[in-house]
């Protein structure tokens, strides 16, 4: 068994999920999967080369990943509570429907 193929498979599943799903939570789950696949390489190569830097890098990467997830989830909850929308396509439609003046304000923000 090769860990690189496992990592690439999980990365591919995550990318497919990110492209095909339009639900905000599902997209976040896909992002989480992609980062897990990337972090796995640090640990695997660090372990193969008997270098503890791999573990150190994986710990750093996991912390940043948790921050990304927290901020993205806060944004998703905020959007859902304000607009009652979970679908990314509906969000794009709303942006297109906004009057020109409001649209500019949204872009500025």
């Amino acid at each position: 068994m090769d860990y690189i193929i496992l990592s690439v498979t999980i990365l591919a599943i995550g990318i497919v999920g990110l492209v095909t799903k339009h639900d905000l939570i599902k997209m976040l789950i896909a992002i989480e999967m992609i980062t897990a696949a990337a972090t796995m390489n640090f640990v695997v190569f660090g372990s193969l080369m008997e270098n503890p830097l791999g573990q150190a890098f994986s710990i750093l990467a996991l912390s940043v990943d948790a921050c990304v997830t927290a901020v993205a989830l806060a944004l998703a909850i905020s959007v859902f509570k304000k607009l009652n929308i979970r679908d990314v396509r509906e969000l794009s439609e709303i942006k297109e429907e906004l009057p020109q003046e409001e649209n500019r304000t949204v872009e500025e923000n």
């Binding site: 068994m1 994986s58 990943d65 990304v68 944004l75």
Partner: protein, 154 residues
């Protein structure tokens, strides 16, 4: 060897189901299973610190995702049929084959580094650790501002 193979198959299957299932809570549970299996894989690779960190973060992430999934789920959301689950199982079985059978020719230089994890983290990557603390603080501040803004508008 068989232990790692079982872990790999379990990881691929749970990853497929995390994306494939329509119910958010089931997806989050599948993601949590994948995180636990990944942590076990780290243990088998002699990386206990990364494994424990992954397990702790996986638990936190799963809890947050479950809460968010419960908050954001509408009652009218569709449910996954048995046929769809079966198709997902077949897809994960097909995806597991290259993981078990395939090999990639890699050249790894095996030399022992006289370095412990703590010295690697605190001596070699000290600036990274400090910068990471800043990132965590900024993220926490961002989340607080986002949620406070929402309350103020209410």
């Amino acid at each position: 060897m068989w232990f790692e193979t079982v872990l790999a198959i379990g990881m691929v299957t749970s990853a497929v189901f995390a994306i494939y299932l329509k119910e958010t809570v089931s997806s989050v549970l599948s993601l949590s299973t994948m995180m636990i299996l990944l942590s076990m894989l780290y243990f088998s690779l002699n990386a206990p610190f990364a494994a424990i960190f992954q397990l702790a973060l996986g638990t936190g992430t799963a809890a947050i995702f479950l809460l968010a999934g419960d908050t954001l789920t509408k009652k009218s959301d569709a449910k996954t049929s048995t046929k769809t689950k079966f198709v997902g199982l077949i897809a994960s079985a097909i995806l597991s084959v290259p993981v078990i059978v395939g090999t990639v020719a890699t050249q790894t230089v095996t030399r022992s580094f006289d370095l412990s994890l703590s010295s690697a983290l605190w001596d070699l990557r000290a600036i990274d650790v400090l910068a990471q603390g800043l990132v965590v603080l900024t993220a926490a501040l961002g989340v607080v501002i986002l949620l406070k803004e929402e309350r103020r508008q209410k």
